[in-house]
Subunit: 198 residues, 2 copies
């Protein structure tokens, strides 16, 4: 028998589905929200409504923003360096932006090739990448240092072979098996500066 | 420079204020919400709106519910055992309900006496407790086994002295220094069954 009525129980169940929260921490979060109704619950409700209405996926790069093309794709200074960084996920794009890697553009694949999970080239935003690549002088492959990430990097390198576009990868410094989003900003920054020819 | 626009940034900052979430896990939670817009973000937004509109504090016991008096106070079977359990917090009430302690009623103090933090008797829902106590045969003091919790239990015992109401406390079994909300249901159930006279 749930405490507090169906509205509270449903809120707990939905919050428990967020990464990093389980049923117990979701209950604590909901009680915290109810205690701080004016300072936290109402603003969070309003912020969620605004985000639901405003958030969209950038049709150019796959970033998440409130406009499409996103603010990075729409910024002409971002195109001047001619560098396009290919990442698996929006979280990786955000991690690189936090590291302050400079005036670059991004391409979000939305995953990596993984035959075992049934993820093939058609499931990723790869055609979009091939279409954009010729507008850039250099493509930096910034996939995670996992088997799938490196397989995906090889696949992209093959697809871009013969186009004359410089294809690089992040410098070693990314720990093998690690994920970009968990790295500290200094390591990420260094890994981009020491990028090497594939 | 935040990624994703002010709506997303504000949502991250608000979620990061929930217990158990920090800035990094809040970012992951927001990305997860955006990816699962239809299945999770929209339902969560709606559930939060409904909870904001529906949730209120029970004027009798201090519980959180969608009605006041709450469903526990409104249930006549809950009064028949004549047992009123005094807890610090709504989380403790929920923990006891999950333990299935039976047809009892509750009184939520909203904290504990803590002179160092400037929390005195007037800051807690103590007058409400003294007013209700005479309707019950037994008051079970279920404060956390901390110094402040036990100080508060002594204070309430003193206030109820001479009324003839039986005042008990939870059995030892609650680990010293521990908090109710983190205990397993079996321990909580046993602790209530073996409650002893103060």
């Amino acid at each position: 028998m749930p405490s507090g009525g169906p509205e509270i129980e449903q809120l707990i169940q939905l919050l428990a589905r967020l990464p990093g929260l389980g049923p117990r921490s979701a209950r604590r979060a909901v009680l915290h929200l109810i205690k701080k109704k004016e300072q936290l619950m109402l603003p969070l409700s309003a912020a969620l409504d605004r985000a639901v209405a405003a958030v969209r996926t950038c049709e150019v790069c796959g970033n998440v923003d409130t406009m499409s093309p996103c603010s990075i794709c729409a910024d002409p200074r971002r195109g001047e360096t001619g560098i396009l960084i290919v990442v698996e996920d929006v979280a990786d794009l955000w991690a690189l932006e936090r590291a302050g890697v400079g005036q670059v553009r991004y391409h979000v694949l939305g995953g990596v090739l993984s035959p075992l999970d049934g993820v093939g080239p058609d499931d990723l935003n790869l055609d979009g990448l091939i279409g954009r690549a010729q507008d850039y002088a250099e493509i930096v492959l910034a996939m995670n240092a996992t088997v799938e990430g490196q397989t995906t990097a090889h696949y992209i390198t093959d697809r871009l072979a013969g186009t004359g576009i410089r294809v690089t990868r992040l410098a070693h410094g990314v720990p093998v098996g690690g994920e970009l989003d968990y790295l500290d900003e200094g390591t990420l920054s260094q890994a981009l500066r020491a990028r090497t020819e594939i």
